[in-house]
């Protein structure tokens, strides 16, 4: 074998040429020149002069130029083909070799694979969630054009969300921006088709289905004629409902079902994927569905203040949302003038339908995406650090390969192949983990998502995961590979023996890991802090040990208010008699998520302009309500049995109400009218979280159930022992009083509270998990680095011990090194943590970005982790034996 001791690189252009192999043009020239010279020599031998011989030879040859080009072209093509074959072969060799190397160093390889798997699974799961929420189209044919239109108080930050039928009709008639507009309202219906049960029913305008682009899979959707007072009662059902009730959707068509005492004919079945709401079962026309807005007649202006319909519009193609916004705002302004009583201060808010799903969860979505990216980054940094450490351990092997002629490119490729193989293995494992992680993330980001949001891990998601792992492998394998390949053979061999670790890059990776961990730990402790504060929000009630259920008095038996009052009274009395029950009460809505009947209010002696009355939240409650829920009385009294229909109207208000209108504390005895005549304030109670637990308390009043018996009553039972048994006993009680009355929404108040705070809880769980993973990864990285450094310094440490250094001092030195590294990471990370905290605090309840306790906790945790990570190596270092150290060389 010829040695090629050529230290100088050829000029750049020559290297470019040699990229395609040998210099083809020059070779062809040589070959042809040889031919011509031979031929000329032949002619010269026959007696021609050299010049004549030469020109004769050239003449004989023909076009030299053409031959040269043809030969060169053939050779170039061949070189290219060989090059490709060679590349493939090299790739296969590299992969086989990488696998062999990884098998030999299986522990660090496994660690790297696991790191990658964690990063990829988090990313994949996050991508599938984000894909569903942000990228995939809505299931409705007109999904991309659907806009939710809601009534809003001028200047209010959040919209009311619902609108009145008359407003909807006026908008629809006057607008030109939408193809169509539809209205939908939800109610509960009791269905008689076998066992009485409650079904989900929505009242819709005839234009509702066309607006969404929904057509029937069987039969038809509603026509305008179906949505007129006096029309034959018809209904549309979902495929799932038809299957459940009739076995086969086609058998449902034309069947009759009794809803709230009225027999209705099924005229159409719609596909399940187009249901709105997503778990809807039946749809009825507004005009024949018993819509409360019609109780005084459709055209009665009093109906205009009755806002309980959701309105949607399908935007004309090409009409910008802003134009529609301006148009509807103008229409709303006109209505303000025409109907000051109901529409003063009322305008419209338009939101694209997708925003309706994403809007509320944007904060936590951003937080989780950020956290996921950080976990991926830290995993990659760890893999890179591991690669570096592994590569350093192989310096000698690589030096030898370089010495026997492996090119720099070949070595880089070899090392890159290794990290890509690692990454792909990690990616494959991560994809499996992602299926589990996705559920975790989904619950954190969007606990109450509609049924069509399935968060599939489909081909695109898998492709994304594959791409991420490939990229990560290349990006984080490149630095170590280049670093190693740059070692000149001589230096590398010397490095391998003397051991002066140039581990700056590795240190940088570990510092980055610590910095990222700090961000995640701070975020997690912020989220935990938020959960802690949520658990301490004063609810105004004591939810533990309370179970609630709802009844609706719809049948003709309860048409008269006194009948309803009697029924509620009787149920409450029998509930109280059940064993283990401490108290029972009822109200039209229970606290925590009982949003929100609002009434215009007039206080006697405080005149207001008609139409400008303030709105307050009102609840109809029985005397037992306050005692059962432990609502604290501030002054006066709550209701008692004598506050019945014959007694003067009584009212209890909450603290906020009292403070707002009677700041001097003299609310008792004042007269307030909330639509059914003046009532006297008899008591003030502590604020109860009614609509949401997060919002500031709003003025709220209570009226005795006996004086205004609504058709809907929610009972609360406080009991000792198993609440599930209490609930089934309650069901038996209600059935014994009225066998046709179903009870529904059986729930403990504690569950309702958990449900209302689910997002924050899940988010904090997820962040804690991520922070834990990050800590573990960072600690592993730190441990790896310190071990590596100690190993590199075996000789030096051994010498120190030999020269009389105390082992404890050596240990301290090693630990000090780890802590110093961690400290740098912490310092770098705190800045990022503050930034993250600013974002996160916006999505969390009750925390500010400046919770010093969170930062302190994070610093302490990282400090502990770095101590733990360096303990093992420090012990090893302090036991360094000088003889071992010398022998190691």
């Amino acid at each position: 074998m010829s040695s090629a001791p050529n230290p100088r690189r050829p000029p750049a252009w020559r290297r470019y040429l040699s990229f395609w192999g040998p210099d083809i043009g020059a070779d062809v020239d040589d070959e042809l020149r040889f031919h011509l010279e031979m031929r000329a020599a032949e002619y010269a031998a026959r007696g021609l002069t050299p010049a004549a011989a030469r020109s004769r030879a050239e003449q004989r040859f023909g076009s030299i130029h053409r031959a040269r080009e043809a030969c060169a072209e053939i050779d170039r093509q061949q070189a290219r083909a060989e090059h490709h074959a060679h590349m493939l072969l090299a790739l296969r060799q590299d992969t086989v070799y990488a696998l062999r190397v990884l098998r030999r160093q299986w522990l660090p390889a496994l660690a790297a694979v696991l790191c990658m798997a964690v990063g990829v699974s988090a990313t994949t799961a996050m991508f599938s969630v984000a894909d569903t929420l942000l990228l995939r189209p809505l299931p409705y044919p007109n999904g991309d054009r659907l806009v939710a239109i809601s009534t809003t108080r001028v200047g209010a930050s959040s919209s009311i969300g619902v609108s009145s039928y008359l407003d909807y009709r006026d908008w629809r008639d006057a607008q030109h921006s939408f193809d169509d507009m539809g209205a939908i309202g939800g109610t509960n219906f009791i269905m008689l088709h076998g066992e009485p049960r409650r079904v989900s029913a929505s009242l819709v305008s005839a234009s509702f289905f066309p607006t969404f682009g929904i057509s029937a899979e069987l039969g038809r959707v509603f026509a305008a004629a179906d949505d007129r007072p006096g029309a034959a009662p018809v209904m549309v059902v979902s495929d799932a409902f038809a299957r459940q009730e009739f076995g086969e959707p086609s058998r449902a068509l034309g069947e009759n079902i009794t809803l709230n005492g009225i027999a209705r004919t099924i005229v159409g079945v719609i596909p399940d994927r187009w249901r709105y709401p997503s778990r809807g079962e039946t749809w009825l026309p507004i005009a024949t569905g018993g819509y409360s807005g019609f109780s005084n007649g459709v055209d009665n202006p009093s109906s205009r203040g009755n806002r309980n319909l959701q309105v949607f519009g399908a935007l004309h193609r090409g009409v910008p949302l802003d134009r529609a916004r301006r148009e509807l705002a103008a229409i709303a302004a006109r209505l303000q003038h025409e109907w000051p009583g109901s529409n003063a201060q009322m305008t419209t808010a338009l939101t694209p339908m997708r925003e309706q799903y994403v809007g509320d969860i944007r904060g936590s979505l951003v937080a989780v995406i950020g956290a996921t990216m950080l976990v991926l980054l830290i995993a990659c940094a760890n893999v890179a650090a591991l690669q570096l450490a592994r590569a350093w351990a192989r310096t000698r092997e690589i030096a030898v390969r370089a010495a026997i002629g492996a090119s720099r490119g070949r070595i880089v490729r070899q090392l890159l192949t290794e990290s890509v193989v690692l990454s792909l293995a990690g990616g494959a494992l991560g994809t499996v983990l992602a299926i589990w992680a996705r559920e975790l993330i989904r619950r954190a980001v969007a606990p109450n998502t509609p049924a069509w949001m399935t968060f599939d891990i489909d081909g695109r998601v898998l492709l994304g995961a594959f791409g991420v792992s490939m990229l990560a492998g290349i990006a984080f394998g490149l630095a170590p590979a280049l670093r190693l390949a740059d070692l000149r053979a001589g230096t590398a061999l010397r490095h391998a023996t003397v051991g002066s670790p140039r581990s700056r890059l590795q240190r940088a990776f570990v510092i980055a890991e610590v910095a990222i961990s700090i961000i995640l730990v701070v975020s997690a402790s912020l989220a935990l802090e938020s959960v802690w504060r949520i658990d301490r929000i004063p609810l105004g009630i004591d939810p533990a040990g309370v179970v609630t259920f709802e009844v609706t008095m719809q049948s003709a038996r309860y048409d008269q208010p006194p009948a309803r009052a009697r029924l509620v009274d009787e149920i409450e009395e029998q509930l109280r008699a059940m064993p283990g029950v401490i108290g029972a009460g009822a109200a039209d809505r229970m606290p925590i998520n009982g949003c929100c009947s609002q009434f215009p209010m007039v206080i006697q002696g405080q005149p207001v302009t008609k139409g400008h009355e303030p709105f307050v939240t009102g609840t109809i409650a029985t005397p037992g309500y306050f005692a059962t829920l432990h609502v604290r009385l501030v002054s006066g009294r709550t209701f008692n049995a004598s506050d019945d229909a014959r007694a003067p109207n009584a009212m209890v208000i909450n603290q906020t109400f009292a403070d707002k209108y009677w700041p001097r504390g003299d609310a008792l005895g004042h007269q307030v009218n909330t639509g059914v005549g003046f009532a006297t304030i008899v008591g003030v109670v502590q604020d109860v979280k009614q609509a949401t637990i997060f919002g500031a308390p709003e003025p709220q009043f209570f009226r005795p159930y006996a004086q205004d018996p609504w058709t809907r009553a929610v009972f609360a039972i406080r009991a000792r022992g198993d609440l599930a048994q209490v609930a089934s006993a309650a069901r038996r009680v209600v059935r014994s009083i009225d066998p046709t009355m179903p009870i529904f929404d059986v729930q403990t108040l504690a569950d309702a509270f958990d449900e209302a705070t689910l997002t924050t809880r899940s988010l904090s769980r997820l962040l804690v998990a991520f922070a834990g993973i990050a800590l573990l990864l960072a600690a592993t990285g730190l441990y790896g680095l310190i071990s590596f450094l100690v190993e590199r310094r075996t000789r030096e440490l051994g010498l120190r011990v030999a020269l009389g250094a105390e082992p404890s001092r050596v240990a301290r030195m090693v630990i000090g090194q780890a802590v110093a590294l961690a400290a740098v990471g912490v310092a770098v990370g705190l800045g990022g943590a503050m930034l993250a905290a600013k974002w996160l605090a916006a999505a969390l309840y009750g925390v500010t970005p400046r919770e010093s306790s969170a930062y302190l906790l994070a610093v302490l945790i990282l400090g502990a982790a770095s101590l733990a990570a360096s303990y093992g190596p420090a012990r090893r270092a302090s036991r360094a034996d000088p003889m071992d150290a010398l022998r190691a060389e």
Binding site: F34, H35, F61, G62, A67, C71
Partner: protein, 114 residues
């Protein structure tokens, strides 16, 4: 010199090259000379086509090329027949012989019966 020679038929050149290198490694000039001598200078190949043909046969794997030193101590490219090339030579030689006999037979045939 009188050019009483015959143009080499297209496709025949490859066959002649394979045959030329079948006697042992030789350079392009050697191939040309062998063809001239073997056919008593009847067949004079077009040298401008000889070299592209050599390169083409090489890229097909029928002949190998290697730089070496010529009989007069010059650097020259030597071609030799590969196993694949030998098989090809057998096939093409048989085909060509059959073809030549057929043409020859036609030329020697008695006149068409009336």
């Amino acid at each position: 010199m009188p050019d009483a020679n015959v143009e080499v038929l297209r496709g025949t050149l490859d066959l002649l090259i394979l045959k030329a290198v079948s006697w042992g490694p030789t350079h392009g000039y050697g191939v040309a000379r062998w063809i001239e001598q073997a056919t008593d200078d009847v067949l004079q190949i077009e040298e401008g086509s000889l070299y592209p043909a050599l390169h083409r046969l090489q890229s097909r794997g029928w002949i190998d090329a290697e730089w070496g030193i010529s009989e007069n101590n010059r650097r020259a490219r030597f071609y030799s027949l590969t196993a694949k090339g030998r098989a090809q030579l057998r096939v093409e030689a048989a085909t060509w012989t059959r073809f030549a006999y057929a043409v020859f037979a036609a030329l020697e045939a008695p006149p068409r019966p009336a």
